[in-house]
Symmetry: C2
Subunit: 458 residues, 2 copies
């Protein structure tokens, strides 16, 4: 019983029914601590939910929920039909600290590179757009809608993406999605069904998107990222490449022009697709945003965008611009999976963009984010003068490289003790702190960086 | 070149560039006519989109869109990774006439059993609920939300479903979905990944849900439906049974009490799940609605509901109530597929239900639908006195059995010529017209039935 041993000897789960906190929360915390401390090693198979529930004398749902939460946080990996295991990336990197933070100390400074500024969501303008959508939608629009998305929204998006991102989009080639997560899930399913087996991903890259590809049965071919984005010399044979050219996630690099061309050449040579995740492409600070790769791609690029970084992840609205031959197939995948996006939300977004509200909001936010970024870089210069700061040209986070021998877990834990929530990743043998500025007030940046610097110095 | 021959000899697609209508529309119409007339036989493989586009001299997207539309309408079947084929059910049944209708003649009388009354959507109350959700949601709710759904909505749903449908629901066992389509797609994926290979379905049954199960790799085990619902003597071995106990789709039968018990016994004996699609369970006219099967199910029933028949399909909001051990796994499937439902919509629905607006709306609509149903049954008695009328006790459609030798295609076509859109299905060797009354005014019922009767008599 190897599995149970892990829990008997290495983990020591102790649930305290007098503790006041739900048993699920206690279990989550102890599993999380076990992974972070290294007591539960990467790859370790956890007991089945049934077995652990029995062992602990709790309802199975408690264990199911706890496992699910930790999978969502990236500590555990659930593979369909096999045991849940301890994630490989968990101890050193990933979005792990968030949940721990909530318990260790109140988060005073939120530097997680997670979403747009949640406090800046234009509630009033969004309500006005919703009111208009409700007033104008013909009754027919309240039935089952087009799987590809509301025609009105697709027309508005085609114009917006052309103007804002240099995307060449016919409304008929756009499929509205619930966000980039769904776009990648739909693509992964379709590509696999059509025989694809391998996808190039950036190394390091965004772990959630990797998981989605793997769940669809696709193997990953990681390709190194440097300060000019993903390296394009020696790209391997693959059916597609998933890339973040505007602002690489997580390193913040912007894909260099010659590499853009090389990537497209590779796609042509291998009859492959380039999947362009333009997750925060609207934010560029040193000059006009570089247009999307899709504009150069000649029918080989699938462009993905969403409102998660411009408005709010909670809207669950995004879009794909596809080569013509794929648009219908992806719309079908969408339809069979959930019937399409809610019509009123789509019509509200169409109105919101058409009225210029998105442009207005972005202008305001670009200015605000830019000021925060400038303060952040300046404060890092003051408090961590030796740190290498990267990814400053675009996006909503920057990177701070730690010394090669730095104890990144210790840094994150000490930051949390000081009320600073921050993520980390590994890159080229060193730990990178990912310092987001979307959810921190300009005036809070100086004290936040001071606290972070203290944590880095130990 | 067998495939091309079908188009050379049997179909004669002729696209007329002077016609004024888009080429896609013309192609759709001719393919649809080919299927409906029987020129294109069930199972026939269509040429690839590339080949047909070349042959016709049109952009490939035109063909992709046309195929996609006809798959959505049920004329064609797309299997991942293989040729698109002519559907088996298409000539005689299914939701086919809708699109043809739109072209043959304006639809004056909409008797399709498709959705709730689209004109009755409570726009003002929904806007008020949205306004409240936008005013009250803390900033944190605008980020990425819980994959299982907003806790506030799950709590409200647990109370509502207990009260309205006799569902035993812990909020932690509820997963919010984009509707019943998504619920079945998530379940099908999870069940298949866990080794399930076969699912019992009702015969006749709803073709879309069958397609979703098949797309996930599950085989169907159809079980005959009679006037007491699905027969439960001799249910085969299967991992699950997908049933519509409150109002069988399409026959309208209500599952008899002893069959409810037998179905649950079968589930226990075979360690199987019962998937209860309660798509219009809120509508029962002869007495209080029969409670959901889930309330008796002892942890073997997965309950599915949505707002599509009570409010509007366009909301894309539904729910699953799951045995505890499955709730976390389904929430994970949901999360990895699209990140969950939009938070503001969920909070609006929670507010809408909490304020009693859903109950108010349902009281009003039950009365209205009941009056329409009564008129419909009376008018059928006047104009088609020999017709067998079924499924009257509940739901939003009734059935009219045609004579065994009736030409159902002819009936539907003649009805369309008179401006009546109606669906049909096959049951026990006879054609059943499915006559919906959700989208027809009470005063229009008499002339609609008169026109329908004329179409039936030929």
């Amino acid at each position: 019983m190897d599995r149970v041993d892990h829990f008997g000897r290495d983990l020591f789960v102790v649930l305290d029914r007098e503790d006041g906190r739900p048993l699920r929360v206690q279990l989550e915390e102890q599993l999380r601590d076990g992974v972070r401390s290294g007591r539960l090693r990467a790859g370790t198979a956890l007991p089945s939910t049934r077995a652990l529930a029995q062992e602990l004398g709790v309802a199975r749902g408690v264990v199911v929920e706890a496992y699910g939460q930790l999978v969502a946080e990236g500590f555990l990996v659930a593979r369909r039909g096999s045991a849940t295991r301890v994630a490989k990336v968990a101890p050193a990197a990933g979005p792990a600290p968030a949940a721990t933070a909530a318990r260790l100390a109140p988060v005073r400074f939120d530097l997680r590179p997670e979403s747009a500024d949640r406090g800046a969501f234009p509630r009033r303008a969004w309500l006005a757009a919703t009111r208009r959508a409700l007033a104008d939608a013909p009754d027919a629009d309240l039935g089952y809608g087009a799987w590809a998305g509301a025609p009105a929204l697709r027309a508005v998006l085609a114009a917006y993406l052309g103007r804002a991102r240099g995307v060449v989009a016919d409304p008929d080639h756009i499929v509205v999605t619930a966000g980039i997560t769904q776009a990648i899930a739909l693509l992964a399913g379709l590509l696999h069904a059509r025989g694809a087996r391998r996808v190039v991903v950036e190394e390091p890259g965004f772990w959630q998107h990797r998981t989605i590809l793997q769940r669809a049965g696709l193997a990953l071919a990681p390709v190194e990222v440097d300060e000019r984005g993903m390296r394009t010399d020696g790209l391997p044979q693959a059916a597609a490449a998933l890339v973040t050219p505007a602002h690489q996630m997580p390193t913040g690099a912007v894909l260099a022009p010659e590499r853009r061309a090389a990537l497209l050449d590779w796609a042509t040579a291998h009859d492959a697709l380039v999947i362009e995740d333009d997750y925060d492409g609207e934010y560029r600070y040193d000059r006009e945003p570089v247009g999307a790769l899709q504009g150069l791609g000649g029918g080989r690029v699938i462009y993905l965008g969403s409102t998660s970084k411009t408005l709010a992840p909670a809207l669950r609205l995004g879009w794909m611009v596809l080569p013509g031959a794929l648009a219908g197939a992806i719309a079908d995948e969408r339809g069979w999976s959930d019937g399409g996006s809610p019509a009123l939300d789509q019509l509200a977004l169409a109105t919101f963009i058409e009225r210029g509200e998105l442009d207005r909001h972005l202008r305001r936010m670009r200015l605000r984010y830019r000021r925060r970024r400038d303060r952040l870089v300046a404060a890092l210069g003051d408090h961590l003068p030796d740190a290498e700061v990267g990814g400053v040209a675009a996006g909503l986070h920057i990177t701070v490289a730690l010394a090669p021998d730095a104890d990144v877990d210790g840094v994150i834990a000490r930051a949390l003790e000081r009320g600073v929530a921050v993520f980390a990743t590994q890159h080229a043998g060193r730990a990178l702190l990912l310092v987001g500025y979307a959810n921190i007030d300009e005036t809070a940046i100086e004290p936040a960086v001071r606290a972070l610097a203290a944590a880095v110095r130990g």
